[in-house]
């Protein structure tokens, strides 16, 4: 009884339990769901959302929101093939350049939020719109194919039968948990999210931390963009669009307060998996796309009521 109560008060654990339950039930009732190949596929999709949601988790913990992650994914997926130098057979130079651009976009978001005092929701929305316009001018309507070796490896390789993207997600997860729980910046993000005024008067720099958090969000969105590009082998305008709301949903499903100041990436991890699993289950049901959307929306709401519920203050 006490263990159940503890689980109910621990959103990450609750979300994890929910994932396990859904997997067991679906595995027993749906043919093919429990196959290793299928579960691996689900994890591969979760990795993408999980990596986008890494930056989103930090921004939301600090009381903001980043509506430009979808656009940043699209930017990286389109720019990377264009700026990868032919002379570099590994493709790493292109990756570094692209991640630099993604981080730079994040820095601009942070500068707007910190120094121009534009609310993050407006700043990142404006940034997303701006980037979309720019991409239409640069790429037109056509898709860009990728030849960058490192990107293709990341999207296709399976060392030890585990997709490289999932391995990347494991690394991102470890880094994220260290940032939030073991580094001073993590505690500062949380303090700023819970009470920016008290944090500022305690000597926590609002400007520097805002810059940092949005830069990290840009970086992780860029990383996810590269992974998506490798999995897709093509970049096109709109490729990142589905990841904006799913990244926010994964964070909130993991029990992180949308108001900031409370939560952890340990919740976002099962949150991302739960989201992907739900989508997969709905696809199995034979329904029209309209009904699938309606079911997906209702399920997200239902899951939130169970796991992501804000503890009463």
């Amino acid at each position: 009884m006490n263990a159940i109560k503890a689980a109910l008060r621990n959103p990450p654990l609750l979300t994890l339990i929910l994932v396990v339950l859904v997997w067991i039930i679906a595995g027993l009732t749906l043919r093919g769901f429990g196959a290793y190949g299928h579960l691996r596929y689900l994890l591969e999709l979760s990795a993408v959302i999980g990596i986008v949601a890494a930056g989103q988790t930090l921004v939301i913990l600090m009381g903001g929101i980043d509506l430009s992650v979808g656009a940043i994914i699209t930017v990286t997926a389109i720019l990377l093939p264009l700026i990868s130098p032919e002379a570099d057979p590994t493709g790493l130079v292109g990756i570094v350049l692209t991640l630099g651009i993604a981080t730079g976009i994040g820095l601009l978001n942070g500068a707007g939020a910190a120094y121009l005092k534009v609310p993050p929701i407006i700043m990142t929305l404006a940034m997303a719109t701006f980037l979309q316009g720019m991409l239409v001018i640069i790429a037109g309507g056509s898709a860009v194919s990728v030849t960058n070796a490192a990107v293709i490896w990341l999207g296709q390789a399976r060392p030890f039968e585990v997709p490289a993207g999932v391995l990347l997600w494991v690394v991102v997860s470890i880094v994220m948990l260290i940032i939030i729980h073991r580094m001073p910046v993590g505690a500062r993000f949380l303090a700023l999210g819970a009470n920016p005024l008290a944090a500022r008067l305690s000597g926590v720099s609002v400007g520097r931390n805002t810059l940092l958090v949005f830069a990290l969000s840009g970086f992780f969105a860029g990383l996810a963009g590269i992974l998506i590009l490798g999995m897709n082998r093509q970049g096109y305008v709109g490729i990142g669009a589905p990841y904006l709301l799913t990244s926010i949903a994964a964070v909130v499903l993991g029990g992180t307060s949308i108001l900031g100041g409370r939560g952890t990436y340990a919740g976002t991890i099962p949150g991302a998996i739960l989201l992907v699993t739900t989508t997969a289950l709905i696809t199995v049901v034979n329904a029209s796309p309209g009904w699938r959307s309606i079911m997906f929306g209702s399920l997200i709401l239902g899951l939130l009521l169970i796991s992501g519920r804000e503890a009463r203050r």
């Binding site: 505690a187 819970a194 926590v204 100041g261 409370r262």
Partner: protein, 502 residues
């Protein structure tokens, strides 16, 4: 005199939070035409009892009784219906709305479904006159000082024509003048037959206003008796359960060291053109009516709001500090008056709050050193006698203990200048005394303590000098030999003949 029937009672009420009993069978009866004092240290259960009486909380056991009838499902709406109004310690006003709208909120007069502003302003003007609010009624509440907002809060309660009025520390942010108006008002309301419950840490006010007292200690009633014949010491004994001794420690003459602050023509926010000097080892008081630029002066020194100066020397830096980090780096620390909103991150744990300013210096290989952090937290909680599990959210602590956390978190940085903004507001007597002793020991260690206080006796008993602010300017600097309540209040009101001395 026949026995009057109580309007509002609590009978044998129990209430606990998370398994901690806060009230253990408390009785209280508020009678019409009587000012009833509720005393007790912070954490004794006063706020919880008020919340029960106003329907904000439900008792676990026992009853709230209105007009002799036990109420089963008491709620704030039912309390309003029954004519019970509460003036909360935490101000509950909407800063963007005007004075009139705030006062009328929830009971706005309507006409054809729209707010009838004309009827509202007539009704509001009447209550405002009673509480001495002279500001234009369409002024946004956010533009008022804390003390004036408190008066708006009181007017708001009166607007509903209550039969029972509960005042939770109404004078803690009021100037002497405003407190005087309030005292007169309370007497008038009493004579009109309203039942009043008055909570205050200021015993002289209680003595002057109240005729009956209930004392709470650790969730039980230790006294429920007429006030006549009980003196201050007697009251303190009832609250603390023993003799409290003198509230204020004896003034100490500490050797004065280097000049840590030297300002000419310093301006920040409302504070204008201030000349101010202070040295290591001093306790310098800052007084005056509430909202005369004192707070902005401290915030400007601390780099929290933009400041300018003709010449400035602040802890070795030769211009006003440009932000809080720079101020911390120079050895300044600031403890805000509003600890709930400015001083602490309430939902976070005691430990995280204690560590926040000094997070950066307990790092090993770029990671937080958990063992060193635990040691620091244990050390701080022991030095300041903050009791209980440090993993609890700081909002679970009583006001006094919260204030100790807000102070303690600066100690690891070993600041040379402490800027304290009303550090004893809403703090129980025992903690007040601890804080006073702490301030004296800071001065002994050669720190400069700048103490802004709305409690004049505090300035008189603790400070080496007192700077009195008036309309944004430093009106008078009183040396130790001239400090008295009369001198401070006089200078604050602009009455001092020697006012030009500074």
């Amino acid at each position: 005199m026949t026995k009057t029937k109580p309007l509002l009672e609590a009978r044998r009420v129990f209430k606990g939070f998370f398994g901690n009993p806060v009230l253990k069978g408390v009785d209280i009866a508020l009678e019409p035409g009587r000012v009833h004092a509720l005393l007790g240290e912070n954490g004794a259960g006063k706020s919880t009892l008020i919340n029960l009486l106003s329907g904000a909380l439900q008792p676990d056991k026992g009853n709230v009784v209105v007009d002799g009838q036990p109420v089963l499902r008491f709620s704030p709406a039912a309390a309003r219906e029954a004519g019970i109004a509460v003036v909360q310690q935490e101000l509950s006003l909407a800063a963007e709305l005007s004075i009139a709208e705030n006062i009328g909120l929830g009971a706005l007069p309507r006409r054809f479904g729209l707010i009838d502003y004309r009827a509202l302003s007539t009704a509001v003007a009447e209550v405002c006159e009673r509480v001495g609010l002279t500001e234009p009624l369409d002024m946004p509440v956010g533009d008022l000082s804390l003390g004036r907002r408190q008066m708006v809060e009181i007017a708001k309660a009166l607007f509903r024509k209550p039969r029972v009025l509960i005042l939770d520390e109404p004078t803690s942010s009021l100037s002497a003048h405003e407190a005087g108006i309030l005292a007169g008002l309370i007497r008038k309301l009493r004579d009109e037959g309203i039942a009043l419950l008055y909570i205050s840490h200021r015993l002289n006010e209680v003595q002057a206003l109240c005729s009956h007292v209930t004392v709470l200690k650790d969730g039980v009633v230790t006294a429920d008796q007429p006030l006549a014949g009980v003196n201050d010491e007697g009251l303190v004994r009832l609250m603390v359960g023993r003799d409290a001794g003198d509230l204020f420690p004896a003034w100490q003459d500490n050797p004065v060291g280097n000049e840590l602050i030297g300002l000419e023509g310093f301006s920040a926010g409302m504070a204008r053109d201030v000349n101010f000097r202070a040295c290591a080892g001093e306790i310098v008081g800052i007084g005056g009516l509430v909202g005369q630029g004192q707070e902005d002066f401290l915030l400007g020194l601390y780099g929290a709001i933009p400041a300018s100066a003709e010449t400035a020397q602040i802890a070795g830096r030769h211009r006003p500090l440009k932000n809080v980090e720079a101020a911390n780096g120079a050895g300044l620390a600031y403890v805000p008056a509003d600890r709930k909103h400015e001083g602490l991150v309430l939902p976070h744990s005691i430990a995280s709050n204690l560590l926040l300013p000094s997070l950066g210096d307990l790092v090993k290989h770029g990671l937080r050193d958990r063992a060193a952090e635990r040691k620091r937290v244990a050390d701080l909680t022991r030095r300041l006698t903050i009791k209980g599990d440090v993993g609890r959210p700081v909002q679970a602590l009583s006001g006094g203990n919260q204030q100790k956390v807000a102070l303690a978190k600066w100690l690891p940085l070993d600041p040379s200048v402490l800027l304290l903004n009303d550090p004893t507001r809403g703090v129980d007597i025992e903690t007040k005394r601890e804080i006073y002793l702490m301030l004296q020991s800071f001065a002994r260690e050669g720190k400069l303590v700048i103490l802004l206080s709305s409690d004049t006796p505090e300035l008189v008993h603790l400070c080496d000098r007192v700077a009195v602010f008036r309309e944004g300017r430093l009106a008078t600097m009183l040396p130790r030999s001239e400090i008295s309540e009369e001198a401070i209040v006089g200078a604050a009101m602009g009455l001092s003949a020697k006012g030009a001395a500074a």
